[in-house]
Amino acid sequence: MSTSKQDSPIQISRRRLFGLTTVGAGLGYGGYRLLSRSGGFRINTVERPTPAVDPVAFRLVVDGAVERPLTLTLDQLQSLPSVKQVSDFHCVEGWGVDNVRWEGVRFQTIAEMVGVQPDAGFVTFYSEGDVYKDSFARGQALLPDVLVAYSMWERPLEQKHGYPLRLVMPRMYGYKGPKWLNRIEFVKVRETGYWERRGWAIDAWIK
């Protein structure tokens, strides 16, 4: 408060105390930011750079062994019947995020629109950037909680979370849900996904 504190035993230490407090606060804040960024999500991507999708030019292509191939703009997709869904997200790395609020179109809805041919036993999902893809048996993809999601926690997906679209498959680990989803292909022979080529489980059910 005043300048006449030269005899105070705390005089010299203030700087040191300030330094220690600053370092401690900085570490604490940095750690907190690291842990809490993206609501507990850690960002994983093999697409480099992170795809930056122009929402006007964007098209979702649904093709392959179907009766009526489909190309949807983002507006068209978002005008389809949508669902809100709260589900836990589990990453194969050992972290998870509980109660993620998604909004999007049920994969079932899209499958009905295109008319899947009877012998199309599998579905491949592609990411913008052409590096990442993953696949499901048709029955797995048609589970009612599989979504083509465009919103997370009542906001459009952030770029690092897959803007504008990502696949949500709550019953399997997160690597089964490609981000920056831009193509869905129904096929007769199963495609091997990015991580499955590296030995990861094809059917990544969560125990």
Partner: protein, 221 residues
């Protein structure tokens, strides 16, 4: 004081130093590789179908886990290391007084240090912290490491409940690490002790002043 100008006192034998440096090296590498995992671009680097940095992190973690045990079980002169660990973990009567003195000194107060033996209370706190952190990080690390290779052993919910502890303890450990580096490298009055982690000895005068109840020259006075 004058007696010890050029004389040295033996402080840490080879096994103790090996244990310290193995812990220090593996922990630092684990900290660095662990922090690198926060960067998506670095985490995504692959080698032989595995993600390189997490794999390295786990391999260093194995050394962090079993290295100390190997030294304590197999190294020649391991008995001295066991004695040092015991000394650095055993509370003594004057520890509270010493801590009180140390805190006040940090705040700028002056006063005579209580007589301490080979390990003062700060060193003991440091030893206890790292022992507990070693247990906690190893135990949680084993779960996460096994989960890295197979999902058959632990359930997802269990692994996810362990994950934050591994992370928070590791991040918190940066603080005691910085404190340790401060007294070892920067703080003028404790800096002379650093040599005992290299050649095993400290200046006799320094030992007499800082560890009078241990130093051969001042022990009985």
């Amino acid at each position: 004081m004058a007696a010890g100008r050029a004389t040295r006192v033996r402080r840490f034998e080879r096994a103790t130093r090996a244990l310290h440096w193995l812990n220090a090296a593996t922990f630092l590498l684990l900290l660095i590789s662990g922090l690198l995992i926060y960067l998506p671009e670095v985490k995504a680097r692959e080698a032989g179908g595995y993600r390189l940095v997490p794999l390295l992190h786990i391999m260093i973690g194995v050394a962090f886990l079993i290295g100390p045990a190997l030294i304590l079980l197999l190294a020649r002169g391991r008995r001295s290391a066991v004695t040092d660990i015991g000394g650095a973990l055993t509370p003594a009567r004057g520890d509270a007084v010493w801590l009180n003195w140390a805190m006040l000194s940090l705040l700028g107060a002056r006063g005579r240090a209580p007589r301490v033996a080979k390990f003062n209370a700060g060193q003991k706190l440091n030893s206890w912290y790292w022992l507990l952190a070693w247990f906690a990080l190893s135990a949680t690390g084993v779960v996460l490491g096994i989960n890295f290779f197979t999902k058959r052993v632990f359930g997802a919910e269990f692994v996810e409940s362990v994950f934050p502890y591994h992370e928070i303890i590791a991040l918190f450990s940066i603080l005691p690490l910085l404190g340790h580096l401060y007294v070892a490298l920067i703080n003028r009055s404790t800096r002379p002790a650093l040599s005992s982690m290299f050649d095993g000895s400290v200046d006799a005068a320094w030992a007499g002043e800082h560890h009078p109840a241990w130093s051969p020259e001042t022990r009985r006075s």
